[in-house]
Symmetry: D2
Subunit: 252 residues, 4 copies
């Protein structure tokens, strides 16, 4: 189940997967992936193939778990990129607009925005007014003596190159864009991703040993657990509410 | 309070700190550091200078908090170093012995040992038998087809260069040592360290605003809180027990 | 002379610089920078302020020297970013379009393109035909069994996001863009940049000690030297010719 | 020829290699490696198997070429490690002793020592007096206001842990050791290593196409060339002389 598959969503595709499990005597499928993978696994479980799902998506938008594998690595990669933008800030007044991943979810933008001390953070979950929320903030920061500005935006909000052009036109501050794109998906996994994946792996084996199937392994309140897969998928996407509030406390 | 100070432990040194707080009208001291810093802050609080302590030590050995700032950065730095040792493994049979920080605490050794898939992990909290726990493990791994072995040891266990020599003599496997030393203290802070430091900073301000003093900000069960400083320091050092069990489940 | 200055190009601005040199008893100015800095230094020398220029520009487009400081660091930064794009290539068929710096110069694009094994490299110095040079190359590569494609383009060629859209439309291959922007200017200097800057610094002092002024320190044929500043600036920009030929030999 | 082989040095081992070339119709062998590899290739050429040698050794001690593949990557890895040691220097007075690779060659120590601004550099080619060259230098630096000292030593000089102990005993400065060991061999290749390996590869193919065999590809005066293999191996190891002089000019 390593690639996203449209075939899998069809009755024929699903039956093919069931057949393969039977041919190879696969007793149980441990699926690692995001929302799509989890839904595919659930379909498989409805065909009487027991499944365990380990959540892994850099968007970290699965409601049932506070942590999905890959998230910490992606955040560190994005952060290191923004650090390099700060490096060039000493001599020129300049605004750096950085587009991070997240078509529908602002988790990455919000997290690296706070961690990098961004002046402005834009997420798809929250409407913003270009003049009030961006231009005014940058002008105030300039008046307060700042000489370099970082704007972090999720890709769902638009293109960084367009935003940089607009900011330069309206504020007169030289603005340059960076679009991280898929490079956030690469790199060696961080410590936290390796550690939690070890914990989740142990938990998956324990869950199987104890005869509980069709479960999603989750990480909540700093610890691993497992929940019913169907229930996990019934809950809506994880909202940004709490993190947004924290970001406001920190950046204001 | 940026450097460890013996002066601070004397009555005169402490009184000097109290005087400085009065001269500069310092109402409250927020101290960031490890066990020594926290004890110094407690002494100050007993002289009626209100304090808040934010735990920061790469040893992560403060019992009251599950997380101390700096730990994640140190783990990632150590892990990246060990990854480079794995890189050289393709053509030669070889054992790499890596000495990580930790004179009295095995947290770093245990964590990076698990995360890097080390064949052997040695911590000061746990006795080991050279032949049974090291030689035998390596020989078994060799018989199972492995060609490269990583031994992670805390500095409290001894010198990596001595251990490498002993292993080479007894097993015949070419062994080389790496001692990370203080390089684990350097590098740009990881995402997690920046995020939790933001959370702890917000919590510190809230604690002060709510009129609660002489508290340690802690991170437990995935969330920030604050506890009485004296109580926090009364508890013994954080034991390795649970993590050790997890490491055994994973490495065996 | 740390920031680009329009003022410096005026007679008044220049006179101000001359005055400052006199007031502070500055006997000689060692200027570090690119073409603009070198031309400013030359103006200063014409006002009888002796100057030495050390070339530093990540575009590496100064004709008189084969190497300008900052180039190796920028190349390594860009290369590490592209390595991360390769990392995500295992399971999905995908084209990654990476826009690197270079409005008028293709040095960075060409160099990192070769070093990262890019399928297509686009530089401003060389015209290309979208269908013949890009679409056809990618289709041939796909027919030859490739599953992941890297297109490296200099910013002077256009926007990566536009290029990715065009490629996806014409080939049907899912295409994603990354625009590195100013992050190529950041990061700790590489070994080569530190080494050559040490050599150039030594050479600058020697040149001054030997009473030769208004010189540019250059790096040619693997060694440092110094040339007349006016002559250095008279020569046209460094052309891509030789490197292009090498790139063709390697990528074909 | 990916692993060092004692067998290869025997007449039987060599004959086996010749047989394999015949069985698999190998017309020409392109060998990549250090001095040992080059000598093995020469033996093969004496059995009428044409060879081309591409020099690759992080020691960079092959006299015939100014650059051997792997060197730049190793230097950058060592430099990044030393940068992290500098990071921890702000609050404590401390001496960091770093042991880098080089049993008989001081190239790495000298190069990263200069590039990291080390206070003391120790190489196997040059005798030193502990009191005059180390203790005195550190004391003078302390008197001049320095608070952090880096001592870079090649492994051929001794163990960093011993040196740190001796320095602490004699100067009273808290001293800690780091032994990089084989981690210098790992990591993704740097830009320079990828670029020069591309150039050398092209040159190797050209050399073969032009019918010249038993050659070593070399990099001299900033460009690639090829020289007779036997002559290349006749010359002694590359001496440190020039670089040492440069290091003295820079560090004094």
């Amino acid at each position: 189940m390593t690639a996203r598959s449209e075939t899998f969503k069809t009755e024929e595709g699903l039956q093919k997967a069931v057949d393969i499990c039977e041919i190879f005597n696969i007793d149980i499928v441990v699926a690692i992936g995001g929302d799509g993978t989890a839904r595919g696994a659930k379909s498989l479980s409805e065909k009487n193939i027991p499944v365990i799902v380990i959540p892994a998506t850099i968007d970290n938008d699965i409601a049932a778990t506070e942590y999905a594998l890959g998230y910490d690595t992606a955040l560190n990669t994005a952060l290191q990129a923004i650090d390099k933008l700060r490096d060039t800030a000493s001599s020129h007044e300049r605004c750096s607009v950085v587009e991070v991943m997240g078509r529908h979810s602002g988790y990455i933008a919000l997290s690296v925005g706070v961690a990098s001390g961004a002046e402005v953070i834009l997420v798809p979950e929250e409407e913003f007014d270009f003049d009030d929320d961006i231009v005014l903030t940058l002008i105030k920061d300039r008046n307060a003596g700042k000489r370099h500005y970082i704007v972090v935006m999720a890709e769902g909000v638009g293109l960084a190159s367009d935003m940089a052009k607009k900011i330069e036109e309206r504020t007169g501050i030289e603005s340059r864009s960076t679009q991280l794109g898929y490079l956030q998906r690469g790199g060696a996994p961080s410590f936290r991703d390796r550690w939690i994946s070890s914990l989740m792996g142990v938990r998956a084996v324990q869950t199987i040993n104890e005869g509980r199937y069709n479960r999603m392994i989750v990480h909540r309140d700093g610890d691993c657990g497992d929940v019913d897969l169907a229930e996990a998928l019934a809950s809506a996407k994880r909202p940004l509410d709490e993190s947004l509030e924290m970001a406001n406390l920190i950046t204001i």
